[in-house]
Symmetry: C2
Subunit: 229 residues, 2 copies
Amino acid sequence: MAQNGRQTLSEVASGEGVILPEPTLRRLPWYLAYLSTLRAKKVSHVSSTQIARELNVDASQIAKDLYFLNIRGKTRIGYEVTALERKLRDFLGFDRQHNAVIVGVGSLGAALMSDQGLQRYGLNVVAGVDINPELQGTFVGGIPVVNPDDLPMLVKKLGVSVGILTVPFDAAQDVADELVAAGVRGLWNFTPRRIRVCGDNTVVANTSIYSHLALMYNRLATMPQNQSD
Amino acid sequence: MAQNGRQTLSEVASGEGVILPEPTLRRLPWYLAYLSTLRAKKVSHVSSTQIARELNVDASQIAKDLYFLNIRGKTRIGYEVTALERKLRDFLGFDRQHNAVIVGVGSLGAALMSDQGLQRYGLNVVAGVDINPELQGTFVGGIPVVNPDDLPMLVKKLGVSVGILTVPFDAAQDVADELVAAGVRGLWNFTPRRIRVCGDNTVVANTSIYSHLALMYNRLATMPQNQSD
C-alpha cells in the first residue's frame, strides 16, 4: 500500500489497500451472494440493472460500488459473472484465512464456535477463551476452550488477527484491552457495551443482535394490525 | 395506540405505540445493559454524563433518547437506576415473549437454536424449519425441527410473530413470502439477500454478519501496521 494513503492503479485492481466507504462494504457481500447463485445456474453475464432489480439497490449505486474496485461492466453485455464473483471474494478477503479467538464461551459464544459457516467467509476460529475452569480443556464444535492466561501466547503463535467478544457487558472493555495488548487488531463486538480502543491500529465491528431485536419489537408493536383473520 | 399516529401522554409513559427513530432504538439496549451492571453493583442513581462516559455516547443524546420515553433525570441526582432499567426493559419488549421460528437449520440456524441467550431478550424459538427430511423430527438445543408444510399451522397455533431467516440466498425471498403468507409479521434476516415485503404490515430487521466481516477485513488490510514487534 502506498505510504501516503493514495492508491496506485495496480493496487486498486488487486484489491489491496483500498479503503472503501462502509455502505459500499456492506453491499458488496450482497452482490457476491447473488453472483454465486448466478454462477451455480451457469449464467455467464449480468447487468447492474438485473442486480439492482434482484437486490433492491439502485443500479447506478451498484455501478459506482464496483467502479471502486476498478470493475466496469461492458455496454449491453454487463459484468462477467465468474470473473466478478472471483474479484469480489478476493477483494472482500473471504478467500484468505483470518485466525480468530472467541472470548466468552456462553450461549452465544458457544453457538458461534459451532457455526461452521464462518470458515467459508475466511474466519478460522482457533480457540474459545473462558474464565470458567470447568470449560477450559473442553471442546465446542471441535474447537478447544482455553484459559485467558494462554491468550497472549496463542495470539502470537497462531497469528490471531480477530477477537470475537461474547462476554458479559461488565467484562467487555477489559477483554478488549487484553486482546489489543496481546496483538489482536480486529475486534468483533457482540456485546451491548461500546468498546473503546486507542489509536488507529485497531478496528472494531459491532454486531448488536439485541439492538436488532429491539428495533423489530418496536416496529411490531407500533405497526397497523393485520386486517386478515 | 391513537389511530392518527399521534401519541397521548399516557401511551408515551407506558411505552406503547411509540415509534422511535432507529438510532435511538439501537442505543437503548446499550443503556439497558449498563444499567443492569449498575443495579448488580447496587448503585442507586446515575447521571447522563456518567452513562455518556461509559458508553462513548454524547450526554445530550442520551437525555434526548430517554426523553422520547418520557423519562427525565433529576438535576444533580440523575436517573434512578432500578426504575430506569425496568422502564427500558418494558419499553424494549425484552420482558414480553415473542414466539419465533428459525427457517433453515444449517450451521447458523442450528447455532441460533442453541443460543439460550435469546430467551432473555424476549425471543422464544418454538421450532426450526428445514426442507431436509433427515433433520425433520430431530431436536436442536431442545427445539424440534419441522417440515415447512407445518409452518402455517404452527404460526397460527403458537402465535408466531418472528421468523428468523437462515436459509441460502436463493431460498430467502420464497421463505420470506411463505412466512408472511402464514401470518408472521417480523422477519429477522440473516441472509445476504435483501428481502422484499409488500405493504406496511411486515417489518424486516437485517443482521448482515458477513457484511461486518467484510468491513473488518478491509479495515485490517488497510490500517497502518503495528509498530511494536
